[in-house]
């Protein structure tokens, strides 16, 4: 009896791990298969090249693709150099158990564990409100200063104490040979004429000052990219570090023995030997960054746009956010099902392709190292 029970437990104990593995694998295949089967029929050339129309219920995802690409590109430009250099410090310069190296490792682990939505809050509080706000304030002060100087030098209809008509102010502003000023002259056409046609110089100043737009202190592409870069930094660091460690010690020593300095050795021997690893890290970071939505929710993504972003301060559309909007916030969720499935397939395909590429590169590195 006891023997029998033992074998029964043993039987289960040997089968359960297999069952668990199969369940996980089946789920993965179910997700991928589900989206490939339901999404593929809706993919079309137009879907990739057209802008969304009719409040996002029709049309394509072109601006979202461009927006995601721009975001990820900027993110990579920020995260990969910083991550690579940190990894170089950790492997080449730091002593393995120095407190500083351990603190950096701890910080990197912590960064990897911070919930992505907290990065979004940080982006809002730090990048947008603090840094962007400072930039805007400086621009605004500068503008007012130039304006006061111009008025004093030229004796304009806006000099202190005078009262001018809106038309006069407009003519005057257009005459200043700088594009920005004519832009502000247009601003004056929105001046409430019902109250008075003649305006006090102080009011004019107020209007001009207020017409300096909040370019940097608002959600935009650059801040979203930097926020994402922070999120993907640990991915780059860990992956580059791993590949730096595979560079054989002998090569470094040979280089040092030939009289190269430490930095020369790193630059000409270590880095070229681990380029594949740096590439892997970048690809993994791109894969991670392309799919994250929470950090960009309030740092730059926008509901709908006709074009991709053209400037750093533009807002942008994003594939993941587009999917979120379509599937939960859209007025008619059921009508946009085809769009949702197609967008999911594109996003999933993109991230899976990037991850597969990273896996292949990694196994290539390992094989090279083993050889």
């Amino acid at each position: 009896m006891k023997e029998h029970r033992k074998t029964a437990i043993g039987f289960m104990a040997l089968r359960l791990p297999l069952i668990a593995t199969v369940i996980i694998l089946l789920t993965i295949f179910a997700i991928v298969g589900n989206f490939v089967i339901t999404g593929a029929p809706y993919l079309s050339w137009e879907f990739f090249t057209a802008a969304p129309t009719n409040a996002n219920t029709e049309g394509g995802i072109y601006p979202a693709i461009i927006g995601t690409a721009a975001l990820v590109l900027l993110m990579t430009l920020a995260a990969v150099p910083v991550g690579t250099i940190t990894a170089i410090y950790l492997t080449e310069y730091a002593r393995q158990n120095s407190w500083f190296a351990r603190t950096i490792r701890f910080a990197v682990n912590t960064l990897a564990g911070v919930p992505s939505v907290v990065f979004g809050l940080f982006g809002l509080g730090f990048f947008i409100q603090t840094i962007g706000g400072q930039i805007d304030e400086a621009r605004w002060n500068k503008r007012m200063e130039v304006f006061e100087q111009t008025i004093q030098a030229n004796g304009s209809p806006l000099a202190h104490g005078k009262i001018a008509t809106v038309a006069e102010v407009q003519t005057y502003l257009t005459s200043i040979p700088d594009d920005d000023w004519s832009e502000q002259a247009t601003k004056f056409s929105a001046f409430p004429r019902g109250t008075t046609a003649r305006i006090n110089d102080d009011i004019a100043k107020r209007y001009i000052a207020s017409s300096v737009e909040l370019n940097w202190g608002k959600p935009s592409l650059i801040w979203a990219a930097l926020t994402l870069a922070l999120l993907t930094l640990p991915v780059v660091i860990v992956s580059v570090e791993e590949s730096l460690r595979t560079v054989p010690r002998d090569i470094r020593e040979a280089s040092l023995a030939l009289g190269a300095t430490k930095w020369e050795t790193i630059r000409k021997v270590v880095i070229p030997n681990s380029l594949t690893g740096i590439l892997t890290g970048s690809i993994l970071a791109i894969g991670r960054g392309a799919g994250e939505v929470a950090p960009i929710l309030f740092t730059g993504v926008v509901y709908s746009a006709q074009e991709g972003p053209t400037a750093l301060t533009d807002q942008f559309m994003h594939l993941g956010y587009h999917l979120y909007i379509l599937s939960t916030q859209s007025p008619d969720v059921d009508a946009t099902r085809p769009l949702q499935y197609a967008t999911t397939l594109v996003l999933l395909g993109l991230t899976l392709a990037l991850n597969l590429m990273a896996i292949l590169l990694r196994s290539y590195i390992r094989r090279k190292q083993a050889a």
Partner: protein, 439 residues
């Protein structure tokens, strides 16, 4: 038994071979020093950013903890450009010493972005002041009574009777056990210890109890599903699977970590929700269970990878010894190897917990986002992270609601930080101690 050296062992090997500074010292030039300094300071960035994240998330939430003196100084920034001959909205802002005005979003239509926000800030600062006054004039209701009528845009202090009726109406909405607040009245920590989270209602309520329960529920479900599955799967790939198969299986399971969380959320929204609804026959499509499954999908690769790694790092000699004294294959795996890897598995579960706790998009899409207080697994719930994600976009900068969302962010950050502290200083030390002797 052939085994590739683990990364840790390689590291130890390399550090033993470390070149002494004296060898390279004479080759160093000034440029070398500068480059080294640059690399050092960039490496320090990760540490700097941890501090910055904490500081700037905390700073936005600070008025909740320390009261709101900060508001007034911010409002003063653009005061130089607020001039007496102004159109209506700015004029109210300049005479902020009188008690007449309360910020009225309807009439605040100055074209200037700057002046507008400045006026709003100035007014929200004064609204706090007037509200306290009104509480002083109508002590009958007791407690924190702060009445504000958005329709008329004027403070009802002038006529005590109207204040009384307004307050009765507000009481009808809010209930008897909660202070009547406006969207401007500063939030105290004590306001959070209630059930209902209704920050957008006319008289907002900021109780986080329901969100806390929702978060705990989804996290629990996610861990209950993910932990056994991923530990068993790790056992399979670490011990039972043929070597070739495990080389394929591991990357595939880890691929799950690369799935964007919106995609997982969408999968739950469409497929899992339907399946769960059909199987269990429940009313609400989106509920804690569906969200928990979604979170489990995100957590599985984390627990799996770390468990697999720590199972592999258990010295093979332990297993061989167990087999040699007559244990069967499964006994060696479950009774020797699994206990030996406990600290690693513990770390894996902790990190999974951190992920499930802070995951935003899946929770936002699949949990139903309703702040109901219930312990049933099949009721719609709302989590901390989803609350931030859903409400941050529409909230007015600097308002109490905004500060509260940042406070939730601080909570999430502190929680994940604590988890990392535990894994770093407890789990790793245990692991090192356990295997130092046996290697």
């Amino acid at each position: 038994m052939q085994e590739r050296p683990s990364p840790d062992r390689t590291a130890a090997h390399l550090s033993r071979l470390e070149i002494r500074p004296s060898l390279t010292e004479r080759n160093r030039r000034i440029g070398e020093r500068i480059i080294e300094g640059g690399i050092f300071s960039i490496a320090a960035l990760s540490i700097v950013f941890i501090f910055l994240i904490f500081f700037f998330t905390f700073r936005e939430a600070a008025p909740i903890f320390f009261g709101s003196e900060k508001e007034e100084t911010q409002a003063a920034v653009f005061d130089d450009y607020k001039l007496p001959g102004e159109p209506e909205p700015a004029a109210t802002a300049t005479s902020s010493s009188s008690e007449q005005e309360v910020y009225n979003p309807e009439s605040g239509s100055a074209p200037g972005v700057r002046s507008d926000s400045a006026a709003a800030r100035g007014d929200s600062a004064t609204a706090g002041g007037t509200a306290t006054d009104s509480a002083a004039t109508t002590p009958a209701a007791g407690g924190d009574v702060e009445v504000y009528n958005p329709e008329s845009g004027s403070i009802p202090v002038s006529t005590p009777e109207s204040a009384q009726t307004d307050m009765d109406a507000a009481r009808a909405i809010v209930g008897n056990d909660y202070p009547i607040l406006t969207h401007e009245s500063p939030v105290k920590l004590s306001y959070l210890a209630y059930k209902t989270w209704q920050p957008n209602s006319e008289h907002p309520r900021y109780g986080i109890y329901s969100i806390l329960i929702g978060t705990l529920k989804t996290t629990l479900i996610a861990l209950l599903i993910a932990t056994p599955l991923s530990i068993l799967a790790a056992l399979y790939t670490a011990f039972f699977a043929p070597k070739r198969l495990r080389e394929i299986l591991k990357p595939i399971i880890e691929l799950l970590a690369g799935f964007p969380s919106v995609v997982l959320g969408f999968f739950c929204l469409m497929t899992v929700a339907t399946v769960v609804q059909t199987v269990f026959g429940i009313d609400s499509r989106m509920n804690a269970f569906v969200g928990g499954i979604g979170l489990a999908l995100a957590v599985i690769p984390i627990i799996y990878t770390i468990t697999d790694d720590s199972l592999r790092s258990v010295p093979g000699s332990l297993r061989e010894a167990a087999l040699a004294v007559g244990a069967s294959e499964w006994q060696a795996a479950y009774q020797v190897m699994l206990p030996a890897a406990t600290p690693g598995i513990f770390a894996a579960i902790l990190l999974g917990l951190g992920r499930a706790f802070g995951e935003t998009m899946i929770a936002l899409m699949a949990t139903g986002n309703a702040g109901t207080v219930s312990w049933s697994f099949f009721d719609p719930v709302r989590t901390f992270a989803a609350t931030i994600g859903a409400e941050m976009g529409e909230v007015q900068h600097g308002s109490p609601h905004y500060q509260l969302l940042f406070m939730l962010g601080v909570l999430l950050f502190v929680f994940s930080f604590a988890i990392n502290l535990v894994t770093e200083f407890y789990v790793k030390q245990r692991l090192i101690k356990r295997f130092r002797g046996s290697e």
